[in-house]
Symmetry: C2
Subunit: 349 residues, 2 copies
DNA sequence: TTGTAAGCGTTATCAA
DNA sequence: TTGATAACGCTTACAA
């Protein structure tokens, strides 16, 4: 290994000068800079990350804490991981992966050995114990998601509120008035505990009411079989429904096939709009689902950038960002069916 | 931060003794050990990872190199990431994520700053330039996958050979004789360049011939639309086919719907067996596909373990492991259709 | 503008 | 069985 000491000797300068040159941390004459750079080139010097970390008290490593029990959108998650790691690298950082259970206690343990400068927390719940834990341990952190009251926190999240407004408006623009939402039961967690579900549902209901429509919501587990069962349930409970908004990636294909099996053609008889899902998943269904895609890439990039800004003290203010889902084509939404429309509106109003 | 110095003072011993006690690296009297442990407990000491790394010349960090352009099985990948990270943690290591393009040159650059002790390489191609690069740079590494001649390398891979034998036998046991394979074009890479595809195809053909059957193979891009098109193509080129083996996760749903659209019921008229895919993906299709699932979890665990064994010099011999895919239920394979069977066998023989 | 030298928190060698 | 102490490779006052 070539050390700074080696470079210094080779360039006939002190080790401090080499450091100043590399880091641009003090003025260095052009002549010296050239000597040093030549020496580095000739020796193939690479500054050692560990020595640097020890001396500067900053490892330039950040950790991604994610729940080991992965239940959600895998397409989006992989996008997120990739872009988070790539962004970290661009900014001179490394990203370590820490799968943890949602219990408290683990985050601090991991953080206490000084390996990481900060932490990115995924799958944040509305009342997440890990947040307080991190605060108490003094670890800088940023959230992917939001707690119930995130005013004092750095976070990046999907703008579920506006996404659901966009979803409703996409469908009402097509003439739909009898619109139902199908969301996610997320295991045993209560509905209210999970931000994406509760924020979306609230926003769906508000936007429907704003348009003088009656909001109806259903929930099912995150798997195709549950989606299929939900299809039957929804059609029985709400026969006049002409459009469904699905925020449940795993259930969407089952829902579609359940609807088809019940004799409803998509989108001729019934429109289906998938929200906060991935384009790849939507493409698995036939016909391809119209989808408001989760911005996995943006969340990864912005989350890492927000955390690093904070670490480098260059955050002028708390970074709190919300990203919209983007509407992507697909053949599962269309105009409301002509003849049946009026009868069904009546039934609801 | 509580340092070893603090602990030493508090316990009235030297800092060396504290180190010996923590690491069990030299005998320590029971009495001293107690004093030290009490001091550590009282002060809440956590040994600093960076100081340790600098002194021991081992960071206990390993890197996962994966292609930034993700084209493959996302369900399996997330399993793999999670279990790799968890295993590393269990063994006292951290896993950093390095998304890189497949070009050479990047691996060395990342490795040269001494941040990681070793590297795990994903998506290995048969003639992977990164392998030579890592060898030349002297970085310890293990492969997830295999090069063309991996005799001298540490690797963990799916046993594609036996998996395809199992796939063929699963179908012949159900009476099928007219079996085709649909695999993956993997972008522009030539078929021969990618191990999973070429090994599987070779094994498929060998096992078919061994059973005196005629192997037929098709290829399509990794997306549902391509799968759908492939359905038509296959039925046209091979009308007598009664069973399909699909090694193309993204295309499988499209294939199934294409077959259905062509009037073939699954599995009554045609069996479909998905190989090297994830159970979640298989469940997206209706009926749920019978699948030989990729052992993402095992690959992650074993890959990390193999690398760390090597790093700690406790690898008695080169670790080279192949893991079978596991057959998981699903309703897409069944007995060969009774009446049409003979006629079609004839057509091929 | 450059150099000297004191850390940073451990490990590990050599003596005691 | 324990203690001094010299690394490890770099950053950063402080001096020159």
């Amino acid at each position: 290994m070539v050390t700074m000491q080696d470079v210094a000797r080779h360039a006939n300068v002190s080790i401090a000068t080499v450091s100043f040159t590399i880091n641009n941390t003090k003025p260095v004459s052009a002549r010296t800079r050239e000597k040093v750079e030549a020496a580095m080139r000739e020796l193939g010097f690479r500054r050692n990350a560990v020595g640097r970390a020890l001396a500067s008290k900053r490892t330039r490593i950040i950790a991604l804490l994610f729940p080991a029990l992965q239940h959600s959108m895998s397409g989006t998650v992989i996008q997120f991981f990739t872009s988070a790691a790539a962004t970290a690298r661009e900014l001179g950082y490394n990203l370590v992966l820490w799968p943890i259970s949602n219990e408290a206690g683990q985050a601090t343990e991991l953080t206490a050995n000084g390996l990481v400068d900060g932490v990115l927390l995924m799958e944040v719940e509305l009342d997440d114990p890990r947040v307080q834990e991190l605060q108490e341990s003094g670890t800088p952190f940023a959230l992917i998601g939001r707690t119930r009251a995130p005013e004092e926190l750095t976070y990046v999240d999907i703008n579920f509120e506006e996404t659901l407004v966009a979803a409703v408006q996409h469908l009402t623009a097509l003439g739909h008035r009898n619109i139902a939402l199908l969301d996610d039961a997320i295991g045993s967690r209560s509905l209210a505990a999970f931000g994406p579900v509760s924020r979306s549902r609230d926003s769906f209901e508000a936007e429907m009411r704003r348009q003088d429509l009656v909001p109806t919501a259903f929930t099912c587990e995150a798997n195709p079989a549950a989606g299929k069962a939900a299809a039957a349930e929804i059609l029985a409970a709400y026969p006049g429904v002409t459009a469904l908004i699905v925020q449940n990636e795993q259930a969407a294909p089952g829902l579609a096939s359940g609807l088809r099996r019940a004799g409803r053609r998509i989108p001729q008889d019934l429109s289906v709009l998938s929200v906060a899902s991935s384009a790849e998943m939507a493409a698995m269904v036939d016909p391809e689902l119209t989808v408001l895609t989760s911005p996995g890439h943006e969340l990864g990039r912005m989350g890492v950038a927000a955390l690093i800004d904070q670490l480098e003290g260059r955050a002028t203010s708390l970074r709190q960002e919300l990203v919209m889902c983007r509407l992507e084509g697909g053949g599962s939404t269309g105009p409301v069916p002509a003849q049946e429309g009026p009868a069904q509106e009546e039934a609801v109003e």
